[in-house]
């Protein structure tokens, strides 16, 4: 005789539970955390470097870097002033997940930091589905990638708490329609806070770092 057993359980439940645990751990230690996601080359590491330089005397920052291979990004973070920089090599996985972040958190004395920056694997698709437990998730869109990305990658654009628009210094050189881009963003993520900036020239960086400092302070 066949019986139907109701379950109603989310398929990514296991990861979500671990993400909640990661968050508790960060909160208990008083650490504010962000998960930075973007396509390869959009400027995650550059933004982190410039952020670290500007926050040098204001906050104690740890960086966790996810990449398929090399420690290039963690090395750059350490050089730019991160008090700790941990590299996770995913060995082929295209995104970080809560298990991997937990492993990294175990290597840190979280009481020594105010802010944890997680740099996710360069990928506009997969990281959107895997919560890590950070307080906020940030997407970096860059001007040369084109203005149609919100329409093509709705999952990512919908799920983030803040949007950095990097490489605005290249606007005169590439065909990027800002109103078309912003419209796509607004529909998917109404009212999301945005930071048009250039990590290279420094334009717009103050608004971004001020916001970050405010977020950290508001959690204390």
């Amino acid at each position: 005789m066949t019986i139907r057993v109701p379950i109603v359980e989310n398929i990514l439940n296991a990861n979500d539970h671990l993400a909640v645990e990661n968050r508790s751990r960060l909160e208990s230690a008083g650490v504010y955390s962000i998960n930075i996601m973007a396509s390869p080359g959009a400027g995650k590491t550059s933004l982190i470097e410039q952020t670290l330089l500007r926050l040098k005397d204001k906050l104690r920052v740890a960086v966790v870097d996810g990449d398929i291979a090399t420690s290039i990004d963690a090395d750059r973070a350490a050089k730019a002033g991160a008090q700790a920089a941990i590299q996770i090599n995913t060995g082929g996985d295209c995104h970080l997940d809560a298990v991997m972040l937990r492993g990294a958190l175990e290597q840190l004395d979280l009481t020594q930091f105010d802010l944890l920056i997680v740099e996710n694997v360069g990928n506009l698709v997969c990281p959107a589905s895997f919560k890590l437990g950070t307080h906020k998730s940030i997407l970096i869109a860059s001007i040369p990638e084109g203005d149609d990305k919100p329409y093509k990658y709705p999952g990512m654009y919908r799920g983030v708490d803040a949007l950095v628009i990097n490489k605005i210094d290249l606007l005169p050189y590439v065909p990027f329609k800002m109103d078309y881009f912003e419209r796509g963003v607004e529909v998917l993520n109404p009212g999301v806070v945005t930071f048009p900036l250039s990590a290279k020239t420094g334009e717009g960086m103050d608004a971004w770092t001020n916001w970050l400092v405010e977020q950290v302070k508001s959690k204390r």
Binding site: P6, I7, E9, I11, L12, A14, P154
Partner: protein, 113 residues
């Protein structure tokens, strides 16, 4: 995407609940997958045939109930199916729309003996 991890997750969830229910065999697994959850049914089916071997779920039929995506305009309350590149309300053209269906990604129930 990640059909392999997804398949494993479906198997874990199903076996756990089957064990709780004292079942001897799982004959069917009922999945609810929304349009905006990107999963390729055939890939899940493929991995399933490998992963469920040797478990009480090995001959279970996977059933995919697909939920069409739906957006609702917060301005005029119209519910609609979004066109590819234009998410604005087809009636009042407002951009303040919310996804109300299509995000589902769950194991709804299992059929056991």
């Amino acid at each position: 995407m990640h059909e392999l991890a997804v398949t494993q997750s479906i198997l874990d969830i199903s076996l756990r609940h089957a064990q709780k229910a004292g079942a001897e065999k799982i004959t069917g697994i009922n999945l609810v997958i929304g349009e905006f959850a990107s999963i390729v049914d055939d890939s899940v089916q493929f991995y399933w045939e490998l992963y469920a071997q040797g478990t009480i779920a090995q001959n279970a039929q996977l059933h995919f109930e697909r939920i069409a995506g739906e957006m609702t305009c917060t301005n005029c309350k119209l519910s609609f199916h979004p066109k590819d590149t234009d998410f604005a309300c087809p009636d009042c053209k407002s951009e303040f729309v919310q996804i109300t269906k299509g995000d589902e990604f769950r194991v709804e129930s299992i059929d056991v003996e």
